[in-house]
């Protein structure tokens, strides 16, 4: 990246190709299989001679998947959950990150440690007590219950805190001189200048909650609030004995498509964001 000389093949690079080409092919096998299966008619799949390229390409599996499960509903629920989580997180983490990076106060160290606890004890390990809380609050089967446990994010707080620290103090002082307080500074100075970190956090947050499975599974038992991943699991478990693989793979594509498409288009951004998420930002 940093003023590297033009590409020239060397012995060195050949090793890289020898390692990466076969590994990439193996890594892509599940993806090929996913697409190939979803496009086959069921009888062709159950003939013993396996083929990668379907002899007849059909879209009926997708049509059937859409009709046997309310995927439109699942889509709406999932979009609601991920956008609600990110919107609330953005507020809570920018306020906390501002205090942790710019203000000196008693108990700051202790509070940082308390935030660190969430990093190591994720909501996933606390499903039993959190289920009871949601049950008592009569919030089972709501998108709110799926999202609420993620409203505070220690990871996001640390990421933004790091970004806020890199912003020169004079920027904040100019806001203070105009009579603005901390909130004004956050909205007009810190958030705009920390944009790369916020984008990184947004991508990591949205993709991880889009893909979330276990907690939504626990707090929902009707289609009302169910998200895509839970709906997908229910679809396969509804069918007795062995699943209808053509249908299952078509449904899987319906679930994974938006994120994978976004990843294909914005690959560089996604990868940079996940690099930042190594908490070194």
């Amino acid at each position: 990246m940093r003023n590297r000389p033009a590409l020239r093949p060397s012995e060195h690079n050949i090793v890289a190709y020898v390692v990466l080409i076969p590994v990439s092919i193996v890594m892509l096998v599940p993806m090929f299989l996913l697409i190939s299966t979803a496009l086959k008619p069921l009888p062709e799949l159950m003939s013993v001679n396996f083929t990668w390229i379907p002899r007849t390409v059909v879209l009926t599996n997708f049509v059937k998947a859409m009709s046997v499960a309310p995927f439109a509903r699942y889509y709406i629920n999932t979009i609601l959950v991920v956008s609600m989580i990110f919107a609330v997180q953005l507020v809570t983490i920018s306020l906390a990150a501002y205090a942790f990076s710019r203000l000196k106060f008693k108990g700051r160290e202790l509070l940082l440690v308390l935030f660190l606890v969430q990093l190591m004890i994720p909501p996933q390990s606390l499903v039993v007590p959190n289920y009871q809380t949601m049950s008592r609050l009569k919030l089972l089967n709501t998108t709110f219950a799926i999202g609420a446990v993620y409203f505070a994010s220690a990871y996001g707080t640390f990421l933004l805190r790091q970004a806020f620290r890199a912003i020169p103090g004079e920027m904040e002082d100019s806001v203070k001189m105009d009579g603005g307080g901390g909130l004004t500074a956050i909205v007009h100075v810190f958030l705009p200048l920390a944009k790369p970190s916020i984008i990184a956090f947004a991508l990591v947050s949205v993709s991880s909650h889009w893909n979330e499975f276990f907690w939504p599974l626990i707090v929902t038992d009707t289609v009302k609030a169910r998200t895509l991943t839970v709906g997908l699991a229910m679809l396969t478990q509804a069918t007795e004995s062995s699943p209808e693989w053509t249908l299952t793979m078509a449904a899987t594509i319906i679930v994974v498509f938006p994120l994978l498409a976004a990843f294909v288009i914005f690959q560089r951004r996604f990868i940079q964001s996940f690099m930042r998420s190594g908490l070194k930002g």
Binding site: M1, R2, R4, L7, H12, N13, V19, L20, V23, S24, M27, P30, M31, T37, V48, V91, T92, I93, L95, A96, Y98, F105, L112, F115, V117, Q118, L119, M120, I121, P123, Q124, S125, L126, V127, V128, P129, Q132, T133, F151, A152, S153, F158, S207, N211, F213, F214, L232, A233, T236, M249, V255, L260, F263, Q267, I271, F274, R276, G278, L279, K280
Partner: protein, 297 residues
């Protein structure tokens, strides 16, 4: 006087108000549940005892005498350690290769990283189909080689390995990216200096690169112990702990106790034990690399 007070208020209380929103959610969904499950773990509370009865440490004594608990711990340790071990080694090797000046590195990054973008549940389904008896890809492949159908996912000595393979496939790209971030932080002058001193590529790796990313590596390791709790998604989709609990891991076991057998007392006891283990991990992270990673500019 009032001016002084107002200033003191501003210095002491105002910062806490910024923390308050995040802290409230942490209090409700992290701190309170930790305390609550520790409390409930002291009760008999299940379908047999719908009204909870105080039982002291009975649940703890019972769980440590339960042979299945040992099996679950063993499975969890094997799953987590092998996923992290193989994932990190492969991730590191791939990161070193992809960090070289090569063509189409974007395509390689896609091939290695796309599983990170797929939900665990979907990954579980795709691989369930790969492992499916007779018609699945694996059995087709084995037939091609003239080998008998294996049904590896359905045999108690290989089922866990099958799930670990899925997990490594799912995580290796992510580990690679984390290592890539670490590698790109190493200044090229340092590498060049080593090269000028006559260090070969193996020597550069051992004496320059590895020491520089070692604390980072440790950090990735600890963070990914937490990440490995997600194995529950794969287990739920692929095996439900079968065959004969060969793939039963801790979070799935908690799920079974609490939501299949509705034994909330035992579910809480297991949650508390898991929390305690993770808190020990926090302490280790904090006592070692965490402090540097979080506190320094």
């Amino acid at each position: 006087m009032s001016g002084h007070r107002a200033r003191a208020w501003k210095k002491r209380i105002a910062p806490l108000l910024y923390i308050l929103p995040a802290f409230s959610f942490l209090a409700i969904f992290t701190y309170y549940p930790i305390a609550y499950s520790a409390f409930i773990s002291l009760f008999r509370w299940s379908t047999a005892y719908p009204k909870r009865v105080f039982a002291g440490f009975e649940n703890y004594i019972q769980i440590f005498h339960e042979p299945l608990f040992g099996v679950v711990l063993r499975n969890t340790a094997i799953y987590s350690l092998s996923t992290i071990f193989f994932g990190m080694i492969l991730g590191f090797v791939f990161a070193i290769q992809i960090n070289k000046r090569i063509h189409v590195s974007g395509a390689f990054k896609f091939a290695l990283f796309y599983p990170t973008m797929i939900p665990m549940a979907a990954a579980g389904l795709i691989w369930l189909w790969i492992y499916a008896p007779t018609y699945g890809l694996l059995d087709n492949f084995l037939r091609l080689l003239g080998l008998p159908n294996a049904g590896l996912l359905y045999r108690s000595n290989t089922a866990l390995m099958c799930i670990i393979i899925v997990s490594v496939w799912k995580h290796v790209g992510y580990y690679m990216i984390l290592f890539l971030a670490g590698l790109q932080n190493i200044s090229s002058e340092l590498i060049d200096a080593a090269t000028i001193e006559g260090a070969g590529s193996w020597r550069r790796l051992r004496s320059v690169i590895l020491p520089l990313i070692s604390s980072y590596t440790f950090f990735i390791f600890i963070i990914n112990i937490v990440d490995s709790l997600q194995s529950v998604d794969l287990v739920y989709i692929m095996t439900q702990g079968k065959p004969a609990n060969a793939t039963n891991v801790i979070v799935y076991y908690i799920y079974q106790q609490a939501f299949r057998f509705w034994n909330m007392g035992m579910g809480s006891t297991l949650t508390t034990l898991l929390t305690f283990f993770l808190l020990c991990c926090v302490t280790i992270v904090f006592a070692t690399v965490g402090r540097r990673v979080y506190y320094e500019v």
